[in-house]
Amino acid sequence: MSPTPATTIAPVRPELVGDGFPSKPRQRWVEIATSADHKSVGRVLITAALGFLFVAVIELLLMRLQLAIPENVFLPPQTFNRLLSLYGATAIFFFALPLAVGFFYYLVPLQIGARGTALPRVGQTGMWLFAMGALVLYASLLFTPPEAGVNPLPPLSDIAFTPNNGTDVWLASAGLATLGFVFLAVDLVSTLRTMRAPGMAWRRMPVFSWAGAISSWLLLVIGPVMLAAIAMLMIDRNFSGIFFDAGSGGAPLLWQHLSWIFYSGAYMLVLIFALGALAEIIPAFARRPLFHRGTVIASLAAIAVLGTLSWMQNMLSAPISIGWMYFAMTMSLALIVPFGLVLFNLIATMFGGTLRMRAPLLFGLGAISVSSIGLASEIGHSMVAVAWQLRNTTDATAATHYALVGGAVFGGFAALHYWYPKLTGRTMGESLARISFWTMFAGVNLAFFPLFLAGVEGQVVDAYKFYDHTGVNAYNMIATIGSFVLALGIVMTLVNAVRSLKAGPVALPDQWGGESLEWFAPSPPPPYNFDVLPDVRSPAPLRDIRDAVAERTGDRARAGRTGQPVA
């Protein structure tokens, strides 16, 4: 037997091989339902999120059809309001958040060289709570769907104004899902704290794992805030509580503060996820190390803190004192610095690199382009006097959708194309990915850019109709056409993902020449993730291995190409 390689530090866990394994594999659904493996749980979350993306797109299309022409009667107001409420809950709680959390939950243990998570049953419970939330929300289609809007503000969401149990459905499903995300975050935080591989110091963790750590801590802060708000509104509705009842000494604005803390944090979480994924994808496809790791990681942390502290940016027309408005403006204008620095470093990474324009990079660059428009437009919504004009107009819809479609859909699809080989052992079809990307890119601009212009004309959000002769007819028609184009592009990628499960080209363990440890595991990884682990001596353990191999085999071209900092 040859001597043990220098990089090997841990042997296979003996209980995971040999006789202990059941000889007959259990049925697939039993395996999925009972497995506490972070990869199984992560896959369920990602799959469910993509399924709910499809559902959200259908809801969006129905609403856009109603808003195609002025004073349309395609949908009755109540149906529109129900679709609106379902769309809001689905897009946030059942698409964007589970997609981000799912990818983190699947990849962070792999990236830090762990053989599992620290509290697998807690994470599994989180997944089940999320699934129950989704079940509650869509079971309501059989009786009373929610109809109190995207963010059900009391008093409208109180029992006096929405007496049917649709709002209770919203509260229960959002509450279950949020609790689930908090459980998953608890598991991730513990895993990151205790299960990093030898040598995987915090400073050597991949940027995506840092994004996972920041997002998990963020969820531990904002999740309980939302749960408190939900509990209070449930008490108000069902047990004659007075938390939000102005007439009895309660404060309707309290809900706005608590819910906007959560929504602002969740908005940032989705963007932190997308930027974290891009910080892995762009270096891999430009074959250059990230321009400055430290700045990107620090900026992601700053985005989480400042973004959550700017929650009152959503309340600039509410009766709060001007000092608080300036506080919110300070926090959200300060976000220009960390967001700008992350984008600067991502783009600077490409300068001097050699770009392989494959699907993950294409979607990644699309994510930067699309979300940059939304994030820059948010500046207008932070400047107090401008917000008085533009807040709650379709200009805000456009800004939010540019930022979140850029982050969650383009960024999420970039992550999907990049890690699909790791998740499934196959790669996604490249040509369909390209067609899908360009369709989506055209669609998102057609669907949301006209809404900027309509918002400047004064069209308000969430309304089931708009009026003729208000100068927004053309904008709405283009937006409706654009949303169909966007939907077509999204469906193409979803079809691609399903088809490639069986038909995709078989993937290598290290499909793209990545630098972090997940590419050290086979594709897909076995339940225990790694047979052996390399000694982690830098933020790029796989690059170290390639360099060591090059040195031993005398590959001069390859050797000595390790990234060196310039002064």
Binding site: P77, N81, E147, A148, L153, P155, L156, A246, G247, P252, L253, R288, L290, F291, H292, R293, T295, P319, S321, I322, Y326, M329, L333, I336, G340, L341, L343, I347, M350, F351, G352, G353, T354, L355, M357, I368, S369, S372, I373, A376, S377, I379, M383, A385, W388, Q389, R391, N392, L453, V456, E457, G458, V460, V461, D462, A463, Y464, K465, Y467, Q564
Partner: protein, 283 residues
């Protein structure tokens, strides 16, 4: 390789300059679809000025990101055959980039405060306005003109599902349509009797929420007679989209006669009901 690089960089710069000059240089009225509705009160004018400042910053940032992105994609393709440069950034570049972004944020912050403070000032009633005199209450979130000037006209504005009700100083009231005198400082005291509503007439002022249990204020001084429309801007239930409002700006004399006529009509209607009740013919 040098000439193509120069050309695309020049192209990118030209594009940037073109967009910036288009946005910053064009007179607001001529800018068409990106221009908000023409302001008809000093507050709305201040808001609009700040909007144009913000728009320049927004377009600048979007252009910078996307031009850099396009340039990198065109310039650094793998098929150019070069080896990727394995260099990382030093701390100096990051500090300078951060400082530049911080400076932009600071400039926007200062300008926002300056124009928000201006937009927050209730403009004093002009010579053509209604010269009313009433005692003023000090307001926390509203900067009112000095005591010597003509007092603003205060109108209680109540949001309810799905109508706006306006209560004038003489006891008259109207639904949906607000009638105000031109060139007069108007303060709307926003109240809500049920859920959260937002009063929003783009030409006259920004949007402000009516929240149960709180009083909020809208203030404007309409500079021209005319009719301005607005929508409620916070989702308020089934008929939210139908909750519109109309502000009719008239001369002070017309305003006076309108509210007096309205008062007479309301009193007459009430008298009619009282008589029916007394006579036992009420339904």
């Amino acid at each position: 390789m040098a000439p193509p690089r120069k050309r695309s960089l020049g192209l990118a710069l030209a594009l940037l300059l073109l967009i910036v000059s288009l946005v910053a240089g064009a007179p607001p009225a001529a800018a068409g679809p990106i221009s908000p509705k023409p302001p008809h009160s000093p507050n709305a004018e201040d808001i609009n000025t700040l909007y144009w400042i913000g728009l320049v910053a927004i377009v600048l940032l979007i252009t910078a990101v996307n031009v850099a992105l396009l340039y990198a994609v065109r310039r650094y393709r793998a098929d150019r055959g070069a080896e990727p440069r394995q260099v990382r950034s030093g701390r100096g570049i990051q500090l300078r980039a951060g400082a530049a972004l911080g400076l932009l944020a600071l400039v926007l912050f200062v300008l926002s405060i300056v124009y928000t403070e201006k937009a927050r000032e209730a403009p004093p009633t002009g010579p053509n306005g209604l010269q009313a005199s009433s005692t003023l209450l000090a307001q926390r979130s509203l900067k009112l003109p000095p005591a010597g000037d003509p007092a603003p006209l205060r109108i209680d504005t109540t949001g309810q599902q799905w109508l706006w009700r306006y209560d004038y100083p003489n006891g008259a009231f109207s639904y949906y349509r607000l009638v105000v005198p031109v060139d007069t400082t108007v303060v709307l005291d926003l109240l809500s009797t049920d859920v959260v509503h937002t009063w929003y007439v783009p030409e006259l002022a920004g949007k402000f929420d009516a929240v149960p249990g709180k009083i909020n204020h809208v203030y404007f001084r309409a500079d021209e007679e005319g009719t301005y429309f607005g929508d409620a801007a916070t989702f308020s239930g089934a008929s939210y989209a139908a909750m519109r409002t109309e502000v009719k700006v008239v001369s002070p004399d017309e305003y006076q006669s309108y509210i007096e006529q309205q008062k007479r009509d309301i009193d007459a209607a009430q008298q009619h009901v009282i008589e029916e009740l007394k006579g036992g013919t009420a339904p």
